[in-house]
Point group: C2
Chain length 640, copies 2
């Protein structure tokens, strides 16, 4: 039986006819109405709630709804099925669903001083001068080109795709037998055939750019660098929230969503849309076409890589937590669905295990840990909170689900570290009035990860919140008040902000931040305990993550995100994953080292370890239940 | 400006709106009305004529139309453009456009006695028993499978496509870690990576069939053999007219058609449709699915291979006659568009030059010429009339455009050598009454190649036609009469035939047959002259072609198709091309030998040779202008 559903809301007017028992979330999707499902459709987060204003719907689960909510018609779109005609009001979606414009990311990148395009770049561009055919020399086009490759540039055994064979005859003649070929070689195994990627008529200036892209697919944020492979220079840097975010905020929720009917294909399309959009933006900035990009190196956690490639990810989630592939083969643009050159190389970097992926192996390479003599701690402050401990001789690693709070997602006024984000906050201990710094210097739009860390630390030290994260409603300031999400502290009044609305830190936000920092802290402490290396004995603490570069180490220690080591031992590296992908993009030897790192790392499965849960709950306080772990913070608290 | 066209005819009722200047042939195609263009749309054959019964059309060329035709509204669809609303009557199309049902082809094939599946077949099926994963062994699925391939069946370095990676995790678990893999290996270069084609859950009986297909794409006829790669046995043989035939009867017309807008893609689709249809028929016969076919070896002339692969063929036709590719790379089913397994290997065999393709290299292998000690003549009685002369030490080859007459196409009552075809004819020299033999023994439907040769010879020897091919209208028999195509001889009255209509040999048919036999004869005589080897000194004459097996040698000599050598020196081999493709399909060593043959053959370009034209015109008589070349025929004529 068919039923008619009418969706209304801000800029929403849609009607659709669906059969009985259709899930409300699916009906909305078919009607073109986007309803976020941050938990992946498990009915756990409650954030896909809509209001049924007319008609009856069957609620499978009301876990997140109060009797009052239900009385008012609220229903979870992911848990409610259609049983008759319905009118549905869709309230404002979370901020994160509003697509932010991608603006300039400002990492300072220097080309590795040893970069030698001719020696270490797998993509080479060569000019060839072919002898024209005649009745005396009726050699076929492809053999003629192969001969030129062999005799003029010493490229033996080059393979050609059907796609290129179809254009070959026209190209050779358009260039009057002068052509420029782009060829991929396997530097490590020179006996393997090379691969022809493109052939252009005529001669191309040998110093003109040859394009590549380094990509980091984060669970929350995707970063892309557009690189000239000839000079090695990064010519554009762009970043954007991962388009999958509305279908699960963490990898587990994404995997659950991907296991639903059509979910895998939808998530694949969403991540492709984000990457292709970034590619387009970056290419426009340097005035090239996406199809001019000949090679793409991709880092990302194992779930992100599986979802990008359309490979089932379900077993990542279920014990014994098995990936389908840790070392994906080299692929080409058209089969992956990337808008780069049809035959361009897509190199998904190798990972270690289900929860330690290529973002970490690439990060370890770019951080220099794998080459260091002394024991080093590497922490990726991202959604999955991976940690690596080790040196050039040994490496152990683990991961824990921190959630996206430090990337500004899942936090009421959170945003990415981009123009308009509050990146640092100071609170006057007397007046409890804040001072803040905004990226770009204009009016604030929200708070990014480093701002949240700074704010949490300041609020804690000034008593605005207590060690359990409760907002002190008796504090003598108008900035502390009861909000719709519990107690909250107003960082910026609406009169000062870009949106005209107050920017606040709510109790719910504090909880999300506490859980994130507790997971990360628990991860590396359990890891250190497992191998019997005291954290104090590590010589360096390297912190990565797209938020990492802006973190104030003092404040990160004060909230208990980082261990209480000498501050100078910490180094903030920014997005180590995209940087590792960039190194791999440039240099085949570095690419091979990432493979070695993946093979050398020992993965510790925390989910099989009870001590992790204990460490996590102990860390759910500011800075920790065990204050002896944070002597410098105890000292600072004594002073106030 | 838009105009409305209405097409009518037998089973034709279509209306379409098209802009001014649309070609009538294109308009018909968009309206779903199939109008054959045997000359490829050059306006030369006149066979796409339709009748414009209402409205005006602009005729670009009326070369083939009489003033009376034009007065009656006739126009060539390939040469006429729309300038207003039109009503168009489409007369009955040529017989060849009616799709004949594919029936059993009866070549007797024996598996090569040295066939050893384990040793020489590139496609291997192996059973693997994987250790299930655990928390202690979290190896990813693909590495686990690679380990099993390496340790259990000694297959190092196996490559896996993205497509298979996407199914891998489910397959491994469905088979409870017992799987059967189909792998392609490169026997000649064992250091090269193998390729995983398919993986099935569970164990498959090692003697159960593993399917392959050998295909010969003739300009006129396509033949497909379905082969069990394990036993080597041919399990089904099917053949059908090439679906491109309505877009050009010879390769030149096809190339011209392919160079028009959309022509290349249309011809590609037509040949794919024919092959996929044959595949379907063959597979149904042995009760398997086309996607079970793991490998396909394809022979065909260079134009057919280019058109199959969507590679521009235009330069084949223009001096200096260059192919895009003579040795195509190994491809897979999905990229070619064949309905075999998505990842199944497609091996288009190598050719020599524009007019000597893989059908000849495969034919030379299967004929044994390349291995013979004595000088041998190999003639392919097909649309392109290729000839090879040589032995194990040297080979020269040439080609000439014979046309499709000997395959029953372009002849009024012609048909393929299948059930209902008259395959041999005798004419009583007194009464001029014929006797004939029909394939399958039932009522005749038409005449196939061997029947036409036999009929032409008998008509000539009994004086029904003279040496120039004129029908003797004064002959004392009702069977000779003036028909719509000039003088004709009735082979079977309508009362005896399947269709109820007379089966005749017309003056036009005789001309087509004369041109075909003259071209072939001229080809091998010029070739022999070029290398200075008298035809009489050749030890054997090997005759291939899908018509070849049924030719009566005496009659073929009498019409001047074959040289007047001792009859016992001729051997009729049938379709040597598909047989060569079958050998290549089975045995990688034989496949390599076809590559060697292609490299070793010296191609003689006849179009650059005036002597060919002289030889051709001299051969346009029965049997030849120079009767000293045919002493046995002179003797036979003296007797009558």
């Amino acid at each position: 039986m068919q039923h008619t559903l009418t969706f209304t809301g801000e800029n929403i007017h849609a009607t659709i006819t669906v059969p009985t028992n259709t899930l409300l979330a699916d009906a909305a999707q078919h009607a073109g109405v986007d309803i976020g499902q941050p938990c992946g459709g498990q009915g756990r987060c409650g954030r896909c709630a809509v209001q049924v204003t007319l008609g009856n719907a069957r609620r499978r689960s009301t876990l997140r709804l109060s009797p009052e909510d239900i009385a008012q018609g609220f229903a979870l779109a992911c848990q409610t099925v259609v049983e008759g005609d319905l009118a549905i009001y869709v309230g404002p979606q979370e901020k994160i669903e509003r697509r932010l414009t991608t603006d300039r990311v400002v990492a300072e990148i220097t080309v590795p001083p040893d970069y030698d395009y001719d020696q270490v770049q797998s993509i080479q561009r060569v000019h060839l001068d072919l002898a024209p055919p005649s009745l005396e020399d009726q050699t076929d086009d492809w053999s003629r080109l192969q001969t030129a490759l062999r005799t003029q540039v010493k490229m033996e055994k080059v393979a050609c795709s059907l796609h290129l064979l179809q254009t070959l005859s026209d190209t050779l003649r358009a260039g009057e037998w002068q052509v420029t070929a782009v060829v991929e070689r396997n530097i490590q195994q020179p006996e393997m055939p090379m691969r022809l990627i493109e052939i252009y008529p005529g001669r191309v200036d040998e110093y003109s750019p040859l394009w590549g892209a380094a990509v980091d697919i984060g669970t929350t944020t995707i970063t892309l660098w557009l690189v000239d492979l000839v000079s090695g220079q990064v010519k554009a840097q762009v970043a954007e929230y991962n388009g999958q975010i509305g279908r699960g905020e963490d990898v587990i929720s994404r995997i659950i969503y991907s296991s639903k009917n059509g979910g895998r294909e939808e998530l694949r399309q969403r991540v492709l849309d984000t990457i292709n959009g970034l590619l387009d933006t970056a290419c426009k900035r340097v005035k090239v076409r996406p199809e001019d990009v000949m090679k793409c190196s991709i880092a990302g956690n194992s779930t992100m890589i599986h979802l990008l490639l359309g490979i089932p990810a379900g077993n990542i989630r279920l014990s014994p937590f098995i990936t389908s592939v840790n070392h994906p083969p080299l692929l080409i643009g058209s089969e992956v669905g990337l808008a780069i050159h049809h035959e361009g190389t897509v190199d998904c970097l190798p990972g270690v295990a289900s929860y330690v992926g290529a973002d970490i192996t690439a990060g370890v390479l770019s951080s220099g840990l794998e080459d260091s003599e002394n024991v080093t701690l590497f922490i990726d402050v991202g959604t999955n909170g991976e940690t690596v401990l080790g040196n050039r001789d040994w490496m152990v690693t683990c991961a824990c689900s921190a959630g996206p709070a430090f990337e500004g997602a899942g936090v009421l006024n959170g945003m990415r570290a981009t123009t308009g984000a509050i990146e640092e906050v100071w609170i006057n201990s007397e007046s409890l009035e804040p001072t803040y710094r905004v990226i770009g210097g204009g009016k604030p739009k929200g708070i990014c990860g480093s701002g949240l860390i700074s704010l949490l630390s300041e609020a804690f030290l000034t008593g605005v919140i207590d060690k359990a994260g409760n907002v002190n409603l008796s504090a003598k300031t108008k900035r502390v008040r009861e909000g719709s999400h519990g107690g909250e502290y107003v960082v910026a009044w609406g009169t000062e902000t870009e949106t005209g609305e107050d920017i606040v830190l709510s109790r719910v936000d504090v909880d999300n931040l506490l859980r994130a920092k507790a997971a990360i802290y628990a991860g590396f402490t359990v890891l250190a305990d497992t191998v019997g290396v005291p954290l104090e004995s590590t010589s360096r603490g390297l912190v990565g993550g797209s938020v990492g570069k802006y973190i104030n180490v003092e404040k990160a220690v004060q909230i208990g995100l980082l261990p209480d080591m000498e501050w100078s031992r910490f180094e903030f590296l920014g997005n180590t994953s995209v940087k590792g992908a960039y190194y791999a993009l440039l240099d085949w030897r570095r690419r091979e080292r990432i493979g070695d790192i993946a093979r050398r790392m020992t993965y510790i499965e925390l989910s099989a370890d009870n001590s992790f849960y204990d460490a996590f709950t102990s860390a759910l306080f500011l800075p920790h239940t065990d204050m002896t772990r944070f002597p410098s913070v105890a000292q600072a608290l004594d002073k106030t």
